[in-house]
Subunit: 316 residues, 2 copies
């Protein structure tokens, strides 16, 4: 359900590297050429292009892009060009540094990446920052946030489809009891959310809904302004219906007075190769306008072109 489109015949990494070099040379940068190449190569292909570029010109492609481009366009191109695990490591690192405002990014990384991909992010974090992601989160976060985020990012969730229904019912009851007592930071509450496989957790939440008449996130809205509860709802949404979570991030980014380019760029670059197609459908359904049109209305220039190339047109 990616939106990324790759041509049937892809030039060799060296050819792409040479074209990019051409785009950087001479009078002014050829942004269109850069966009046309990079937005239509998958992660593996981009990696090979970076290698070929480094081998041929003895310079990191990211450094070259950094010199040639600027502003929102630059940030989008750099994030996209990075290897997904490196990109997430970088986003996570940024988040731990301006902590209060960006817990969302950590939640996204901890909950919407596959077990394998999250492990790759953690290894990339080691390599880049010489310490672990959970180490930094545990150090910078406090209280309930730490209690929730550290296990969330550390769990190696089982990825299989097996469901134990007896357990699901029992744990739905635990969740209900905790919510009734407003014990949202309870050890067992966090244990269930942070360690159970997505399939098992989904079964538990279905039992919750069937037995208690509300989706759990409705019951977690006791105090709509409580920041911890907001985060908890985001965790649950991401673990069960990530496209709805991302639709909302996009909606809020685009409809803001002054677009939230940071959020927009992040969602498009991290999901284009994963499930942006599903997110687009959700966006269209919820906003009665296709995502690409909403983006085009809101941003402009090379940044717009770049995002639209990654997003694709209409619902296709």
């Amino acid at each position: 359900m990616a939106t990324l489109s790759v041509p049937e015949v892809v030039p060799s990494p060296l050819e792409d590297a040479e074209q990019l070099r051409k785009a950087f040379e001479g009078w002014g940068t050829n942004e269109s050429l850069i966009i046309s190449i990079l937005t239509h190569r998958n992660a593996h292909q981009r990696k090979l292009i970076r290698q070929a570029y480094a081998d041929t010109y003895n310079e990191d492609l990211l450094k070259a892009l950094d010199k040639e481009l600027s502003s929102d366009f630059e940030r989008a191109v750099l994030l996209w060009t990075l290897d997904p695990a490196e990109r997430d490591a970088l986003l996570a690192y940024d988040s731990t540094r301006r902590f209060t405002s960006n817990l969302w990014v950590l939640v996204e990384i901890a909950t919407t990446r596959s077990t394998h991909d999250l492990f790759e992010v953690r290894k990339a974090y080691h390599a880049r920052y010489k310490r672990s992601i959970e180490e930094d989160i545990a150090y910078h976060a406090t209280g309930d946030y730490r209690k929730l985020l550290v296990p969330l990012v550390s769990s190696l969730r089982y990825g299989g489809d097996e469901v134990n229904n007896t357990l699901a019912k029992a744990e739905a009851k635990i969740l209900r009891d905790k919510i009734t007592n407003k014990a949202y930071n309870d050890d067992d509450f966090i244990r269930i959310i942070s360690t159970r496989s997505k399939a098992q957790l989904n079964a538990t939440l279905n039992h919750y809904n069937n037995s208690y008449g509300n989706a759990i996130n409705k019951d977690l809205k006791a105090d709509p302004n409580d920041e911890y509860l907001k985060l908890l709802r985001a965790v649950i949404k991401n673990l069960t219906v990530p496209e709805k979570y991302y639709e909302k991030v996009l909606r809020q980014a685009i409809n803001k007075l002054g677009t939230d380019e940071w959020g927009l760029t992040r969602v498009i670059t991290t999901r284009a190769e994963v499930d942006l197609k599903r997110i687009k459908e959700e966006y269209h359904r919820r906003n009665s306008v296709p995502l690409d049109r909403a983006i085009a209305k809101d941003v402009s220039g090379d940044y717009e072109k770049f995002l639209i190339e990654l997003t694709g047109h209409g619902d296709a």
Copy 2:
């Protein structure tokens, strides 16, 4: 610092499999032959033998050993023959099931395996039990034990040697403050112990010792019978001087009225290929008798022969 010795010329996996098959056949089992082969093959070689055996005789070697052997000898041979990650997964699974008595095993696995090896254990646990190790620990453990063990097993500790001395001093002070207030289960206390790299933690504990005049484990002996404090001391010992931890497990297993075969087998089979040489030195130093002689005095028969072959003689 392994004690495992592998001959210079190793038979092919198929030859070994054929010899093992011979040992099983006919009137009675040839235990000496089994011992002479298996105790002198490393993990990779044992894996190939298992494959060759399965390919040739259409039976799992472990099943065959299970049929032919019995009692402590059987358990030792089976544990040893298993792939290290599978073995740890099995030991961890057993521990979560008889929880109160075997937290030690979980601590050993969480703290003395390398970051990479612990990750392999977690994958093996997925494959074998269809859920995650932290999921089972979080489910079966409670209170302070859960609070300590879940992050301990979930952390992907950075493995590099870099040390930040400013941080080490600051965190030594945090540890000291918590201990002064008897806040042994404090969030920050557990965060430091469970997430910092071994090199960083070691620096922190050295600063602790230098600044406050005691090794931290001495200060954690406030109540010598407190089980949680015992476990905490074991964690710290394992992260810094694992050979001392293992020496003590062996000492207590051997000197018990009635040997603790479970502990003895576990330490020998899990460390023979890692650091049993270091542990043996420590044992000799602390007990004034070489480990192999202590084992020989305490157990007998094929079980004794098997352990001694893995342990080696004297301090060699």
